[in-house]
Symmetry: C2
Subunit: 567 residues, 2 copies
């Protein structure tokens, strides 16, 4: 293809809000253009890459036996009322009314739609398992769209949904998808990990995220050095911590006057103990479908509450910080709150690692008083939940040490169980003729996001560096002087010859300065460049590998064979 | 592919509202499933066909030099305010508000978005021409979605937009697109005509529709027998009509008392003249952006007003029937309205064919009175517009006779001129360094609609009959008895051998009765069936051509070579 016929508006200016390389280069190289907050147009170069990513995903999904479908983007709200997600999803779910005042939503995901597709049509265990997937539009009305394609409102996702007669088969497919996703991300040349994850608003009994390791990632991931254990901080587990310094002695539980000691630091200093032996109270307001309440979470003084874990513990839709008034109304005393003698009716949870702990120091639920010698016993088992933020340096359950790294989520696979099928009354007849809700799995890949992720994973200060699998073109010919007939003829012949072999070529035939053309080559990031310049008179062209920008002079008669080797 | 692994929920029941074969068969054969009014899910078979149509369209568009893009479906309303279409589009345009109360719309088409894409980026005539296209979602909130995929609310369209430095180049590209579209519809095996068309809400200076000729079409098309002239009734022209019977004589204009003669029939009878010599008044209420007014249209007594032409004549957004009150307020007398001595200020238009007509009979704008001897002269030229419905049997401008046929619109190409670029201030510098708004063209194809149109064009009473270019599979193997090991092995080997040649095969390995399998073969409509049944023991299989259901016994050793010939 001639560059003069390609719409690729390259520019030196990055958008003001573009802090990440992928965002800067996607816009600067003319792959995408923003049209609104979190809304992007794919320009020709971006569309080429996007279609290649889609094709890799499609091929691997087809190979795994899934059937491609295309579900309506505009979705009747009624279906989401059946699953109750209509009430549980926050403002990310954009609800719209049509001319007849019927309500619809712009699908952020399609579990409800797919259940409607199979409901009353797949009626027997003999028709199972079944896996349907699509590659299409999604919309999530993000509060803060940012980072270009990494967090948009409208985006392209591959979402697959599987149906099974029993949990074992659901788990088998979960395994198949873990392998399929690994093949996909490997083909895209990404350094990724499948990590234990929280299931969030999708729900279900177990899930894994696929994280591309990248310093600009928004997610915290903990990785063990003793096994392949890796987990999102929202779901990470660790071995129970111990403490070197001495446990404070106490003779039964006693109340102490501790004026001004409303922080763990002050309490530890007051009692001259390691904060490990104190208990921190975090007071939150938990939001439910049509109510809210104050909930207290207790963790060790030197631990931090992990918000997602806390939210799951009390099964809330979300947690807010409790304000002074909430705290007062619940009868609590900020800075002096402890698990013993809490006011009646206050809901609370205690971190699992505190179970059966003895001789602890915590708030006495009375202003300016703390209790010592507190034993965390005799509480109902249900009070104990995993609540803490696992940190770098913590011990892993496998005996190794955990380290922290940053990741960008590119895929998420879920064992949904019967959550949706049960709520939406989608059943099949099992071998005994008994009606049962389907066991389901669901599996997502952020397809348009991957376009950005590949740049985050592979770029230098001058621009993108595309791997072969998804490069917009494979070879970029730069004609130094288009008025030089020899250069022009040689370049056009090379283009033709390569294209006849099915190689995608971008041939820069524009009437632009050589420097402009080279800068565009570096910015766009096609894997191999061929500079056809003055050297041609002596029978030479220059081969440039975009990764590393290594240049080699090659005889004009040998360039085809050299390129063939490389491609 | 094994039928047992394909999700194709076939059924004998058609939806109650399905009157057209395409609607019935698409649902019955499990190509699509409705999820809401005008909203359809594409199931695996439907998705396969859709992707093939898309690929044909893409290949031909790429060949024509257009660049593929992907524009945001959710579109900021602001852009549509710039073009003023925000105010002109009716309820078909679905407007939505996001969490921050900013307004967006679900794009029914993307002229505004594409202008935003090139604005301030394409700045010189040297960067022109440019043609960008996409294949993607559209939404139009139709008042009456119907006919399955033929008139949905959410649908898939190929829309292309071109930019030019002058009208000549815009016309050249219009011609290129006419050829490109002809290649596309020819490849799809459709019997189509490019017809003169009204430009509707898109606007511009000239347009052509591509119509597939089909008895179930919603559009009326007039075709000449003397040339390739064809036109949508909304835009059809004809030669001026004449009348055999004698013109009534009158001695100047006179007023007659004509009680009860409030219809053309009664007037003609009263005066004993051919209705050709009378003038009919059609009183409408024209709706504008923020106003409305009564407009009167005058046509010959034996002609009918063509609503789209009338709407264009007065540049209204739409026309409604004027009610009694509207008529009274305008000072008009229903049934006795004529072009002479109309009340002051009433807007009116006269059909072109009445220009300079003499000795006509029309209403006298007074209850129970008509005027005779009326001459249609001395009116301003702007009053005369093409207003009539051209009918079958009318003479064409080329001297031929026009006949009427039904068509389904599958494509529409427009010469937009500067309508959008001017309104949105999108300019380039011409050869003299002068800023000029772009000349634009736009070109649409109803991609998902084509899936239905291909069935309308090719089916029998048993189901779909796919042509090779877009068939969901090429060969459908029907295993009569899956418990017969010889049958099973032969079929699976045949499947494997065909697939190794890149042939798409559907192999019915289901544990179903033979009759069920044959019915599904006929319903789904794969071009070639191979029945592997009892005959195999004698070394024979049956080859079935879906078109015509012609069956031939073929030796099992020759079936591969026979299929290769056919494919």
């Amino acid at each position: 293809m001639k560059f003069s016929k390609l719409y690729a508006p390259t520019t030196k200016e990055a958008p003001k809000d573009a802090t990440l390389p992928s965002h800067q280069f996607l816009v600067r190289a003319g792959f995408v253009a923003q049209i609104g907050s979190g809304l992007y147009n794919f320009l020709p170069l971006g569309k080429r890459v996007l279609r290649k990513v889609e094709q890799v995903v499609r091929e691997e999904m087809d190979k795994s036996g899934a059937n491609e479908v295309g579900l309506s983007f505009v979705t009747p709200s009624d279906l989401w009322k059946q699953s109750r997600r209509y009430y549980k999803f926050g403002k990310e779910l954009l609800r719209i009314k049509d001319r007849k005042d019927n309500e619809f939503l712009l699908a952020p995901t399609h579990e409800e739609s797919i259940v409607d597709v199979v409901r009353d049509k797949v009626t027997s265990y003999k028709q199972l398992p079944l896996h349907l997937y699509q590659i299409g539009l999604k919309f999530r009305d993000e509060a803060r769209p940012r980072f270009g394609l990494l967090r948009c409102r409208e985006f392209i996702m591959k979402d697959g949904y599987s149906f099974h007669a029993n949990p074992e088969d659901m788990k088998r497919e979960f395994g198949v998808m873990e392998e399929t996703y690994s093949r996909i991300f490997s083909r895209l040349g990404l350094n990724f990990r499948a990590v234990e994850a929280d299931s969030g608003a999708i729900g279900g009994s177990g899930s894994k995220e696929f994280m591309v390791l990248a310093s600009n990632g928004e997610d915290d991931i903990l990785i063990s050095d003793a096994s392949n254990y890796a987990a999102n901080v929202e779901a990470a587990k660790r071995a129970k911590r111990t403490c070197q310094s001495e446990r404070p002695e106490a003779n039964g539980m006693q109340k102490f006057y501790t004026p001004e000691c409303s922080t763990i630091a002050k309490v530890a200093e007051f009692f001259k103990v390691d904060p490990f032996y104190t208990i921190k109270a975090v007071i939150k307001k938990a939001i439910y479908e049509d109510s809210s309440k104050v909930v207290v979470f207790f963790v060790r003084g030197d631990d931090e509450l992990q918000e997602t874990k806390a939210c799951n513990a009390c099964a809330a839709l979300e947690l807010e910080d409790a304000n002074e008034n909430d705290i007062k109304e619940a009868g609590l005393v900020a800075g002096f709150c402890g698990p013993v003698s809490l006011p009646e009716g206050v809901e609370f949870y205690i971190d699992l690692e505190l179970e059966d702990e003895k001789e602890m120091i915590c708030g006495a639920n009375e202003k300016d008083y703390h209790a010592i010698g507190v034993n965390i016993i005799n509480f109902n088992k249900d009070r104990f939940k995993d609540l803490v933020t696992v940190k770098a340096g913590d011990k892993a359950l496998d005996g190794g040490t955990l380290s922290l790294t940053k990741g960008i989520e590119v895929g998420h696979i879920f064992q949904l169980g019967q959550r949706y099928s049960e709520a939406m009354n989608a059943t099949f007849l099992d071998e005994n003729g008994k009606a049962k809700p389907f066991y389901m799995g669901c599996y997502g890949i952020g397809v348009s996001r991957l376009v950005a992720v590949m740049i985050e994973a592979s770029h230098d200060e001058k621009g993108c560096i595309w791997k072969k699998e998804c490069a917009p073109f494979m070879v970029h010919i730069i004609i130094s002087n288009i008025k030089d007939e020899e250069q022009m003829n040689f370049a056009l012949n090379l283009e033709k010859e390569l294209e006849s072999l099915g190689v995608e070529v971008l041939c820069d035939d524009r009437n632009e300065r050589f420097g402009v053309k080279m800068a565009d080559f570096e910015l766009i990031g096609v894997p191999f460049g061929v500079v056809v310049g003055k050297g041609l008179a002596e029978g030479e062209v220059e081969l440039v590998k975009r990764a590393g920008l290594e240049k080699t002079k090659v005889s004009k008669n040998e360039i085809m064979s050299r390129l063939k080797e490389l491609l």
